[in-house]
Symmetry: C2
Subunit: 285 residues, 2 copies
């Protein structure tokens, strides 16, 4: 069946697949200093934001991504007090991080202020914690920011970026991981979005593990989860630890967490690092 | 971006989403006694079979579905000797079941023989075990077959059907579950594909649990897994047990399984029943 002009479509050219959402109307369209940002009202997924024609998030399914980019890492750190989010301009990851009372400060380092402003306007739920006094917003280059960070000053770095092309390319590289390691304190963790297991195991996930370890991280671990509106509908986050093995160290705190989630819970935490056989073999090789 | 005529598209109207695969050519198109069956050669997913315009399987991603429809149930039964597959005409589930040396007989009860014949032609890898002397093929109505089965004669029933519309509708109903329970022996298990957690929790998954329990099954459990070419890219199988709680009872056998898989392994088994928070709440309510 063909799609008429009432559909937004993202083509994943290398995979020969495409994902489409039925659109009611375009709400916003602008070329920022960095990229083209569009917002649509869809038929079944609420509002949709795209950057340079690629899905960034929808109202309906962003909860899985934002929860899985934050809670597994936060409950794997014994004392996560100082968090930095690189990217994450839509503020959804920030909102999840701020649900943790142990967290004392979160700096969101987003290169494009317009992403955050547009998110405030069209995704207000994701921005509902932006006024939290623990949150700080810096609009500028995340690579430079991490490079300049005081050594040992961060407990958790979350890299919530676009795909490794354009502005985000340098976030998937050895020099950036070396800066991250230096900026992290003892027990420090890095969590980075690492694309699709079906489409990107050889091209992105495996090289990411290799680069993180070469940079000096003790261990690495890829979590996977459904992410309906991203290529293949299946996504990953990769964790790297500075000096303490990656374990579910605050399991009891998680079981008694005093906040709501829609996807994540303690059972999901225990489950999300179970590695599909093909991925396990690829990462061993 | 618009898709030209070189794409196959499945629209999920209720969700306002669509999934597309780039097609090189159509390999087959027929109207059987039951449904329209088409086969395409795609650009990135190998061959694709559709029934009445809906994706049944692709070469690239069917491994997740077929492994998850079979191995978790088989390793949760203490002695799975007699297996019946209702539907499953493409023979992919059959192939996985036959990897288990404990299995002594498998009857595949598919209503439409043409699905199997077309699969033999265009998906030969899935049919590579069809000559196994333990495999028996019956082409006819699965509901009647299960109704007529000798009480207590089956260890595991796998319902590998199309969506609950058309020929498969009766497979998602109380009377069918009552017949299944009667046909199952002690420790018996039922495993059924149960659609998407994001799209069908209220419409299919929850009613399925309710109907299975009303029919007299002791307990029910939904497993979830990525399934890229199905609606939302996220899918489930629901297990129901006759008289023994659903547990990973043959964990050691799984850890030492002597056969290859691409998605499933013992870690995935332990993980796949971790229920997302929204689904857990829906099933409690």
């Amino acid at each position: 069946m063909a799609l008429d002009e009432n559909w937004y479509t993202e083509i994943h050219a290398d995979a020969g697949s495409a994902f489409s959402l039925k659109v009611r109307r375009k709400l916003h369209d602008e070329q920022s200093a960095f990229q083209r940002i569009e917002v649509y009202e869809t038929e079944g997924f609420g509002n949709l934001m795209t950057i340079d024609g690629l899905v960034m998030l929808t109202d309906r399914d962003n909860f899985v991504y934002h929860e899985m980019m934050s809670h597994p890492a936060l409950f794997s750190h014994p004392h996560p007090r100082r968090v930095v989010i690189v990217g994450g301009g839509d503020c959804g990851t920030l909102r999840e991080v701020l649900k943790h009372p142990e967290v004392e400060s979160v700096v969101q380092v987003e290169i494009d202020e317009r992403v955050t402003r547009i998110s405030e306007q069209f995704f207000p739920a994701l921005c509902e914690s932006n006024g939290d006094p623990r949150a700080e917003f810096f609009f500028g280059d995340g690579i430079q920011w991490i490079k300049d960070a005081e050594p040992g000053s961060i407990d958790l770095i979350i890299v919530d970026s676009t795909d490794p092309v354009g502005p985000a390319e340098g976030l998937f590289s050895g020099p950036f991981y070396t800066s991250c390691l230096r900026a992290l304190g003892s027990n420090g963790l890095l969590a980075q979005q690492s694309e699709s297991p079906l489409y990107h195991t050889q091209g992105i996930i495996k090289p990411m593990h290799d680069e993180m370890r070469k940079a000096g991280f003790l261990d690495t671990l890829t979590l996977h989860f459904p992410q309906v509106s991203y290529p293949s509908g299946w996504w990953t986050a990769t964790l790297a630890c500075k000096d303490l093995p990656i374990t579910f160290v605050r399991e009891e705190a998680c079981e008694n967490k005093g906040f709501e989630t829609l996807y994540y819970n303690d059972a999901i935490h225990r489950a999300c690092a179970a590695t599909p056989e093909f991925l396990r073999k690829a990462l061993m090789g």
